[in-house]
């Protein structure tokens, strides 16, 4: 029986190429050192992002991090206000998480009253306390004038420059080398760290490298998202802290500014405000969003955020706004500026914010305004935190187990089935390749139970081949020619292979449906492993046998 295998060969080749292609970023990632990663991230952010996005993602149990579930008590609220309360709570938490600078935090609502927060790389128990335990603080602070800000920035730049020249401040100490894309280890090695004489390498306006003034909006600076952490570290330097007037504070915007976004780079505004608030959120009664009518002089057809103060709040806001017409007032939640509108006239109990472009932005502002007085209390109902050391231990232990397990199974297959065992080992190798490629290609997360699932797959994946081989041996014993025995072996083993694996697959799918976090990782690798082991056994090893037995004079099969 001659089979036309061209399609199958093509399929296998395409799958292998696709798998290697899908795993390439993971390979790059795992072979780079931490320094190389940081350098690439600064020198070629797009290339780095590409690698980071496409490499296999590690679960919190492997890279360390916190998985928190918070529940808010909504019993006291009327049912129609609960949804909104949860949204507000989410906004408050989002804002706080944003300030940690965690990469890709997961924040999502669960059911009617829960919020799941996943923070990779964070393991400080204080964080959990900080996130959920603190009450939201909403304040209204006047912006400092543009002159004060310009003057301050000038002085900071001068202090930094002088400090760098005299060697009192080191380039490495303030992270200047890193942020400018230099390799800190090389810099240190070359002794450049303290080389004050190397004045060409000292920018005249260190802060001005990445923090820009907006000519259209005096009193506001802005910086690219990636540089925020560095600017914060500069502002926290004692020499810089001394320069900031006691009645002033820096506050970042809560969201990146859509209007400043250019070419995929996102920028965020930095405000200098009065330290003392003019009024706090506790006077606020309600905020909502409407669309300005056609006759509205300021906001025809545009979203408007309306807010209402209580009587005392109305009196305070009237007094404050009267005295500050044409200045800007920042509305700050937990240290981040949600919006900083110009005061265009004296306000009363009912005020509104116009000049907002998007409905989504308006809704967010209204949520922030409302969150000043969170009516419900929240508490932590689940906290699973894995420290980085345990995560690293788990990765190491998992990898070692996988390698030993793989090696032993490979050995056993050759010991029992000789040449055919090698073919099964090839299938096993492809199996692992496919499982990892699917994880990387579809953006699934690899967890420790996921690694266990792969290891279990190593043991079970050979099952399909064992079934086939035992069958071939039987046929050979019955006196068939190698060619006929292989054909019969595959034909007779197929139904058992399919039935056995489909039932295991059912279990794995159910586990995926009902499981949480890490367990889903297990169910996932197991499912993919089962599917690919059936594929490799029925298609790949068959192709190899066909190729080997294609000569007419084959007398013997090594099995």
């Amino acid at each position: 029986m001659k089979r036309d295998n061209r399609f199958r060969i093509g399929l296998v080749v395409v799958l292998v190429i696709a798998s290697v292609w899908s795993l390439w970023p993971t390979f790059r990632m795992s072979t780079m050192s931490e320094t190389e990663r940081q350098r690439l991230a600064i020198q070629d952010p797009d290339a780095w992002k590409n690698i980071e996005d496409n490499a296999v993602k590690l679960g919190l149990d492997l890279r360390g991090g916190m998985h928190l579930v918070m529940e808010i008590d909504l019993e006291a609220l009327p049912p129609d206000a609960r949804r909104e309360a949860l949204d507000r709570f989410e906004q408050v938490i989002r804002n706080r998480v944003d300030q940690y600078g965690v990469s890709e935090p997961v924040i999502q609502q669960q059911g009617n009253n829960r919020l799941v927060v996943e923070l990779a790389g964070v393991e400080d128990p204080e964080r959990a306390r900080d996130l959920v335990g603190r009450t939201a603080l909403l304040t209204y602070n006047m912006l400092k004038s543009g002159d004060v800000l310009d003057d301050l920035v000038q002085r900071v730049n001068r202090t930094l420059y002088d400090g760098l020249r005299s060697g009192q401040i080191s380039r490495h100490g303030i992270g200047l080398d890193l942020v400018m894309g230099e390799d800190p280890q090389l810099t240190a090695l070359a002794g450049l760290d303290t080389a004050a004489a190397d004045s060409t390498r000292i920018p005249e306006q260190p802060l001005g490298l990445y923090l820009f003034a907006d000519p259209n909006a005096p009193g506001v600076l802005y910086a690219e998202e990636e540089k925020i952490a560095w600017i914060d570290s500069i502002l926290a330097q004692p020499q810089v802290q001394r320069l900031i007037p006691g009645d002033a504070e820096f506050h970042w915007a809560m969201w990146p500014d859509e209007r400043l976004t250019t070419g995929g780079r996102r920028f965020r505004e930095l405000f200098l405000t009065e330290a003392d608030p003019v009024i706090t959120g506790e006077y606020l009664e309600d905020a909502d969003v409407t669309i300005g009518g056609p006759q509205d002089p300021d906001a025809a057809g545009q979203p408007v955020v309306n807010f209402r103060m209580n009587a005392e709040g109305g009196r305070i806001i009237a007094r404050v706004t009267q005295a500050n017409i044409d200045r800007r007032m920042a509305i700050i939640l937990d240290g981040r500026v949600a919006v900083a509108p110009y005061i265009r006239g004296r306000l009363g109990r009912d005020s509104r914010i116009t000049g907002i472009n998007e409905m989504r932005e308006a809704t967010n502002i209204a949520i922030v305004l409302d969150s000043g007085a969170l009516p419900a209390t929240a508490h932590l109902v689940e906290n699973r935190t894995v420290g980085p050391s345990l995560g690293a231990d788990s990765i190491r232990a998992g990898t070692i187990s996988a390698l030993i397990g793989f090696g032993l199974v490979v050995f056993f297959m050759v010991a029992f089935y000789r040449g055919s065992g090698l073919i099964a080992d090839l299938a096993l190798f492809l199996n692992m390749l496919f499982v990892l490629a699917v994880l990387a290609g579809f953006g699934f997360t690899l967890t420790l139970p996921g690694i266990a699932g792969m290891i279990l797959t190593i043991g079970m994946a050979v099952d399909a081949n064992v079934l086939i081989y035992e069958r071939i041996r039987e046929e050979l014993r019955a006196g068939k020619t190698p060619r006929a025995a292989v054909d019969a072996g595959y034909a007779n083993a197929t139904s058992a292979i399919l039935d056995a694996n489909i039932t295991t697959l059912i279990t794995a799918i159910v586990l995926y449906q009902f499981g949480t976090g890490p367990i889903r990782g297990f169910a996932l690798t197991l499912s993919v492993g089962i599917i690919s082991s059936v594929f490799t056994a029925l298609i790949v090893t068959r192709l190899v046998f066909d190729g080997l037995l294609s000569r007419a004079d084959v007398q013997k099969v090594s099995i």
């Binding site: 190491r396 007779n492 586990l511 449906q513």
Partner: protein
């Protein structure tokens, strides 16, 4: 190398002994479960606090226990972790969270004063509220039920109904025995263990189905032969494969148990037990059920008398 060439063991002859053995195992497990007041649920299902700690210098388990007990006014369970010297696992009831403070911080403070000069790092914290635990338990029960229903439907469709029964009874057998062993060894039932149990179910079924598939085939091939003889032949024909697959799976699971680290130690152990019990049950429980069914079914009397 070949394991069994033309194997011809009489599996069915020893089935009475197997019933006795299985029954005894299940009974011991059930007695242990009864004495312990049900399965020993982990904090995943009960709610509670579990911490993995690493001390720089090893400390006495008893001392650690009494320190934590004294500070929290609860009765903690302290065990040595499997991976390294100086690593411990503390399990305790959930602490009332005093004004925004998390339980882990509380315990860490206590430890730093009780063991000065021997700092402890927290390797992991799992703090689960009782409500969340209860919900998870319900979810897991549904998962197990759905898995069983799904498999029953599939097998009934692919095989006959009696085959479905013959493949599902061993599953209960396997899970009961594993639960019993866990109860005897006082290992907690966590989400991971439930996942392992479901995997055992899948594995055991996988094994059983290969045997059933062969029985189905042989029933067609040897129409003239005695029913028991056919079943026994099918078992022998698949014996090499059964042993070989169990062996490779068992090897990797043992490796995982020995080298996989603290987090999946119990998980790997459950799989180890499962592979053994699952293999045993396909040979000595599943096939005999079909034989008994055949013997007891009055309609089949006529066929049987043909021998």
């Amino acid at each position: 190398m070949q394991l069994f060439v033309n194997a011809n063991f009489d599996f069915l002859k020893s089935r009475r002994f197997a019933y006795l053995f299985s029954g005894a195992m299940i009974l011991v497990g059930l007695v242990s479960l009864a004495l312990h007041g049900g399965p020993n649920y982990s904090i995943d299902f009960e709610g509670g606090l579990m911490m993995r700690l690493a001390f720089e210098q090893p400390v006495a388990v008893g001392e650690l226990r009494s320190v934590v007990a004294q500070a929290t006014a609860k009765s903690p369970e302290v065990t040595r972790d499997v991976d390294e010297e100086g690593n411990y696992i503390i399990r305790i009831e959930r602490l009332e969270q005093a004004e925004g403070e998390t339980a882990a911080t509380q315990i860490q403070q206590v430890l730093s004063t009780a063991f000065p000069g021997n700092p402890a790092t927290i390797r992991s914290v799992e703090d689960v509220g009782p409500k969340v635990g209860g919900e998870l338990r319900t979810k897991m029960i549904w998962a197990i039920l759905w898995a069983l229903v799904g498999m029953l439907i599939y097998i009934s469709w692919r095989f006959e109904f009696r085959f479905a029964v013959a493949s599902v009874i061993p599953l209960f057998h396997d899970v009961l025995i594993t639960l019993g062993i866990f109860s005897l060894m006082n290992i907690e039932i966590s989400i991971q263990i439930v996942a392992a149990l479901l995997t055992i179910v899948g594995y055991s079924l996988n094994d059983t189905i290969v045997v059933l598939d062969r029985i189905r085939e042989d029933l067609k091939r040897y129409r003239q032969e005695n029913f028991d003889w056919i079943i026994n032949r099918a078992l022998n024909e698949t014996l090499s494969r059964t042993v070989m697959t169990s062996l490779t799976t068992f090897i990797v699971v043992v490796v995982l148990w020995l080298a996989g680290g603290s987090v999946i130690h119990d998980f790997a152990f459950a799989l180890m037990v499962g592979v053994i019990v699952g293999t045993y049950s396909s040979l000595f429980v599943a096939a005999p059920i079909i034989v008994e069914w055949q013997h007891w079914k009055p309609l089949n009397r006529a066929k049987k008398s043909r021998k």
